[in-house]
Every structure is written in C-alpha cells, then in structure tokens.
C-alpha cells in the first residue's frame, strides 16, 4: 500500500483531484501506479495495443506521428497536470494513434484504462467526473489543433489569402 499512498499524494498535487470525493479518488488510485520516466524513453508507439491513461506529474512527453520521408513530427507536448493516452478511455480505435516520447526526465501516473472503463461503468458518478474532465482536455486539444491547423504564422503568399 506504500505505493498507493504515493500515487494519492502525487495526484492530490493536481487541483482537479482535490475536488473529487475521497471514496471516488480511491477507486482511481486503486487502478493506478507511478512510473518514473527518462529522457528519450518511448512510452508507446503508434499502433501499440498498450492500454493506459497517463497523467504527467513532472517532465514533458512529446506526442509524435511518423511521416514517411519527413520523419517523426512532434505535434503536441504534454506538460505537468495534463494527461495523454485519453482515447484509451473511450476507444474507437483499439490501438495508439500517436507515439509518446519523454523529452525530459519525469514522473507519470499510469491508470489502467480497461479497469477505469469498468469502474466508470459501475459507478456513473465517477464516470461523469472522469468524462467531464476528459471532455475539457479534448476540447483544449481541439482548440490547439485548430490553431495549428490554420497556421497562424503563415504569411499571405503561403496561404494565398488574396
């Protein structure tokens, strides 16, 4: 149980987890473990069947996509308090759609996604809280993607705006 206490302590550094009722938080802690990470470590690759939701406590995780002839393109970095691997909670595609590489030493909390799905199914109050949080995260990701997509820094010749 020593490690579970540590998990709890780490999660409680994040404002969102402070708002969750202790008994619900316990359910998450029960299916989570801490995972220290090293710079350069690959947490998963595109196509992996690996099934965890990660919360970054320290460090920086780059999400990347490999493009033939262009190499790996980093499309987003996950910073402390943010999470990644969220699509495993509501899987549409049962494999990873991007790779995750640590670009700094750090620490993440890994939550077993299949068990989280089950817990949410059994306890809809927990399910609602988790889904609401994911919704916020996904909305933020969409906004970022949109701003990247419109290529804010493009000059008019590049965009042919006129």
């Amino acid at each position: 149980m020593e490690t579970k206490t540590e998990v709890l302590q780490e999660l409680q550094k994040i404002p969102w987890f402070k708002e969750i009722k202790p008994e619900l938080l316990q359910k998450i802690v029960a299916i989570a473990h801490l995972r220290p990470i090293k710079l350069g470590e690959i947490l998963f690759r595109e196509g992996d069947k690996e099934d965890f939701l990660y919360i970054v406590i320290e460090g920086r995780i780059a999400l990347d996509i490999f493009i033939p002839h262009r190499g790996k393109l980093r499309i987003y970095t996950v910073e402390p308090w943010d999470l990644f691997g969220w699509s495993s909670v509501t899987p549409a595609i049962h494999q990873r759609t991007a790779g995750a590489t640590a670009v700094l030493d750090g620490l993440v909390v890994a939550i077993d996604s299949s068990k989280l799905r089950q817990a949410c199914e059994e306890d809809h109050e927990l399910g609602y809280l988790v889904m609401r949080r994911l919704m916020n995260i996904v909305a933020g990701r969409l906004l970022v993607t949109r701003l990247q997509l419109i290529d804010m820094f493009a000059s008019p010749e590049e965009t042919n705006a006129n």
Partner: protein
C-alpha cells in the same frame, strides 16, 4: 481648352514624409526571410538625440520603393544604433532584403504609442507573443532587465511555427539570468526539438497569474492575440491590464493618410499599442 493647374507646388522648407538618412551598420539574420538591420543616422547629432519608447516604430524608406512601418527591436538605451527586425514580405521589405552593410536608407520616427513601462512598475508582467511579435517587445524586455527591481514576476511566453522560426534564441539564456521566466513553444517540432509543442494561448494554464497585479502584453498574428486575450480574461485579468500591439497598412505614421484606421483609431498614432478596453467593442467585428 480648359485644364486645371496640374503642377502643385510645395514650399521647399516644409516637406512631407521627409526622410532622415541612416546607414546600415550591420545585418543579423534571424530566421528564414527575417533579418535585423542595425541602422545609424548619418547625422551624428540626430543619432545622439534620437530617443524612442519600447513598442514604437519607424518608417523605413528605400528610395524608389517606398516606406514600410517597422517597429524598433533594439535597446532604447543603446544610442549608438537602432535595430529593425524585418520580415521580407512586401515590395519594400523585399528590397530591404537586398541591402548591404554601408547602404543608406531613410528613416522617419519614432511613431506611435508604447508599452506601459511606467504604469507596470510594481506589477507582474506577462508577455505573450508569437512569431514576429517578439521584436516590438524586445525593447520592453531590455527595459525590464535594466530596471528589474521595479517589476514583480516577469514571464515571456513566446511561440513560433517551428524552432528555426524563433526570434533571438541566443538571448533567452541572458533573459533567464535576469530572472525572467522564458517559455517557448512551437506549432510543430521535429525529433530534435525537446521544448513545448502547442500554441501560445493554451499554455496559460501552467502559470499562476494574479489578475489583480499582472499586466498582459501581447503582439503577434491577430488570431493569436484574440486567443491570448480570451485566456487572460478567463483568468480574470481586467481588460484594463491587457495591452495589445496591432499592425495595419501605414503610409504616413502621423494619422493623416487614413490607411491604418480601425474604428475611430489611427493605429499609427493612437496605437500600435492599445489598452484592450479601447479596442474591445470592435475587436471581433469581421474585416473591420
């Protein structure tokens, strides 16, 4: 045959748009299609007496091509030379790209409003900018460094498209040494980029911004500015504490030619730096 008199004559002593000549002392390539031109007035007295405030701009004139409004990107306390960081996108600036050290250009200025360096004393300063929006803020950063004790927590959150588009990367270390939190993000990273990937507005959540004592300064693409303002307002930063620097087509710099109008403002004289409450009512009107 009736003809209106076509020759319109101006007294010689009072010329409009009269350039003051300056020599290109040095050219610093900053990124693809962007360089800083270090200029010095050919008249030594003019060079010694020229003063500007952080955020102001000059009209840079290339005879035969025309003028372009360029913000001054150098240290306001450096009286030896004036830095203008120029992106080669228009007729005039593309001609600028062919300048060599020793060439002569015209300058008029300084024009416009400036960053509220005095009003911000005693406050935290959150500078949030993108792309070529950093050059107009660099004089403010130099001013803060020189008067560091007068300001609270100072943060620079800066973004560009890729890591090779970042302005002044060699200086970040010295800014950090002056106790400025420099955070950099890019839209897309390659495998060698270990910094942040994302867009400037989304990183706001990582900073503790005390809305009662923080001034937010922003400059960059207008779309980025909009989202920076949303984020600042979401953190309850009052609109009176948000300062924006805008860009428009300009021909005169003196509120005369009409081109740079946005609502009641002539951006060249009432701006380029605005307190956001001044702009709020038409900032989101499309194509205004």
């Amino acid at each position: 045959m009736i003809d209106s008199p076509e020759k319109i004559l101006v007294p010689q002593s009072e010329l409009l748009l009269s350039p003051h000549w300056a020599e290109v002392m040095d050219i610093t390539p900053e990124a693809e299609g962007i360089s800083t031109y270090w200029l010095r007035f050919t008249d030594p007295v003019e060079q010694e007496t020229f003063r500007f405030e952080p955020g102001q701009f000059n009209m840079v004139y290339l005879p035969g091509f025309g003028e372009s409004a360029i913000s001054i990107s150098s240290d306001p306390n450096d009286h030896e030379k004036l830095g203008h960081t120029i992106r080669f996108v228009g007729n005039v600036t593309r001609a600028v790209s062919r300048l060599k050290v020793g060439d002569i250009v015209g300058l008029r200025g300084p024009f416009g409003t400036y960053w509220p360096m005095r009003e911000m004393e005693g406050k935290d300063v959150f500078i949030s900018c993108g792309g070529i929006g950093l050059p107009p803020l660099r004089p403010a950063i130099y001013h803060i460094i020189r008067n560091r004790e007068k300001y609270g927590k100072v943060t620079l959150l800066y973004g560009s498209r890729t890591s090779s588009d970042l302005m002044f990367p060699k200086e970040y270390e010295s800014w950090r040494n002056a106790n400025i939190d420099v955070e950099v993000t890019v839209d897309r990273g390659d495998a060698n980029w270990n910094g942040r990937v994302g867009v400037v507005p989304m990183w706001f959540y990582q900073f503790r911004i005390d809305p009662r004592k923080t001034a937010v300064l922003t400059c960059g693409p207008e779309i980025m500015i909009r989202f920076v303002i949303y984020e600042a307002m979401a953190r309850r930063v009052p609109v009176e504490s948000i300062y924006v620097s805008l860009e428009r087509n300009m021909k005169c710099g003196q509120g005369s030619c009409g081109h740079c109008q946005m609502g009641p403002y002539f951006i060249c004289k009432d701006g380029p730096v605005f307190r956001f409450d001044e702009l709020q009512s038409f900032f989101n009107v499309e194509e205004f």
